[in-house]
Symmetry: C2
Subunit: 321 residues, 2 copies
């Protein structure tokens, strides 16, 4: 059996790009262009909590990095590199090889090489910690507190599929192989909207990535910007695969479903053309779903203009008792 | 019971220093001085593996950051900030408050504020992920691959106490309250040698922090620099509390004991005065324990100049079968 150091070398060491000192010293080193700031985000993913024990390890390697790249996207930051902490309950080389393949493929696609890490043994479950670094010109980051009253509220991509896939896999919904096949990619292979985030610099006022659910994440923008909002349910970009879903479950998936990793952002109504041009540049679909307002509160109107009575709660890792 | 967001706010949000965007956006932001590079390191600590379940949470908060600051020290990097991932099996507010107190106190002592994080629930054990960021002028980092043949090999502080404290607490040694009292601080409250690392820039050729054991960590310098070394056991700065320990156990603790978080570094023999001056600046004790050589291999000589026959293996999270 290989030693820890052999394993790290085999699966996680890549030749560091010029200018970066990668895996194999006390710290990794990277330069930052003059006038730019470092943006950083960290996520801790646990087996049984953030992913199923039998998930495809290649998809897991992809997703562990994707959720962090999504945070860079939401700041409008360009990826520089990442570090990985991995606690394994057992040494399974095919599993490690597949995990590393999924991780490195997404890292290469976004110019975000793995430059450091820590591998250890876990007593029970697999734990994955990823921290990403990016760069953004000083003052140009897409923050949560930049929204202004009267902004359009936009989302990228489609909503609801990841939540439905999760509930199908978790046994909360009766078996539905066709719907699972059509939604599973959204849950297991989220595509971080890095290009869209970059294109929205100077256009969007505020942005967040949707990890806990549209309403909960939008609320973070509204809280930070001291605003309210009105959304139009009929304008939501619902994933086509969900057409046959019960209406109440569909609303829950669209408004409250997590694991989306699309961007929710605000921009002045006067910049609609610029938003659409940014989306075209990034190859992303964007949809205007409502507007912010000075008055506090968050309402979702139905097609008759009536507020939906019951809104789904977001995902809270420690729900109130 | 408070929600996750309330908890994060209560214990882990501090007002971010000027120029930094702290907890509460998709990413934290920090500037880097012109001409400096970012140094980063990450560690994943698990209950039962890296610390005992009943450890004082204030000490644990201290140590979780200390082991990462020690990596910055070993690069000669000045701390900028850190991010924390915390997976908790249960919500215990007094525990969280004490953990945060220990963490923030060390962060404040080293100018390394917490600027981001992720809190989640764990199915079984506590997991702690810390990533630190520092800055070092381009080309001045203390790397592992910079040692040259004929360098002196130095260590800071004392050796052996943390290993003995661990084995006493783990029940590997018979109860010895006096020795536990004299060694426990080294295990639970390691003091990262950040000031020494900074003072050694331009003096030391190579450096590493001792986390897995003196011989194993020194070997990383020797491997990276393609050198061998000869050490003198009689010169080792053995912790005074270990005077009554059996000689074989003492050697194992001094040469192979982990969790030391002191620096092992090399410097030219012509710079001995500069090394001592750097140590005086940093308020650190440093001891010359041997020399590097072009010939491969690592020998430890006894006071008669004879090589010690049995050298302890280092700590490997996945030992060879």
């Amino acid at each position: 059996m290989a030693s820890e150091f052999d394993l790290i070398a085999r699966y996680f060491t890549r030749a560091a790009p010029t200018g970066l000192l990668g895996v194999g010293d006390d710290c990794a080193l990277f330069p930052v262009p003059p006038g730019e700031q470092v943006a950083t985000s960290t996520d801790l993913l646990l087996e049984g909590r953030h992913f199923f024990p039998d998930v495809d390890p290649k998809a897991l390697g992809h997703k562990a990095l994707a959720v962090n790249l999504s945070d860079l996207a939401a700041m409008g930051a360009r990826p520089i590199g990442c570090v990985l902490g991995l606690a394994l309950a057992r040494l399974d080389e095919p599993w490690l090889a597949a995990f590393a393949e999924g991780f490195h493929a997404l890292a290469a696609a976004h110019g975000c090489p793995l430059i450091g890490g820590d591998t250890t043994r876990s007593a029970h479950d697999l734990a994955i910690s990823v921290t990403v670094f990016g760069a953004v010109p000083a003052g140009q980051a897409l923050r949560r507190d930049g929204a202004q009253a009267g902004d359009d509220i936009w989302v990228s991509g489609e909503l609801g599929a990841a939540d439905v896939a999760y509930r199908l896999l978790d046994g909360q919904y009766p078996g539905n192989p066709a719907m699972l096949a059509a939604t599973r990619g959204a849950l297991e292979w989220p595509q971080p909207q890095v290009a869209l985030g970059l294109a929205l610099r100077g256009v969007a006022h505020a942005a967040i990535d949707i990890s806990d659910g549209l309403l909960q994440d939008l609320n973070h923008i509204l809280d930070a910007s001291r605003l309210g909002a009105t959304l139009h349910y009929a304008q939501m970009p619902v994933a086509g695969a969900l057409a046959s879903l019960d209406e109440a479950l569909l609303r829950r998936a669209v408004l409250g479903g997590g694991d989306v990793y699309q961007l929710c952002f605000t921009a002045p109504a006067s910049r609609r053309d610029a938003v659409l041009a940014a989306a075209a540049t990034a190859g992303a679909r964007v949809t205007c779903i409502g507007q912010t307002q000075a008055q506090a509160g968050l309402a979702v109107l139905d097609s008759q203009g009536q507020p939906l009575a019951e809104l789904p709660a977001g995902f809270d890792h420690f729900p109130a008792a």
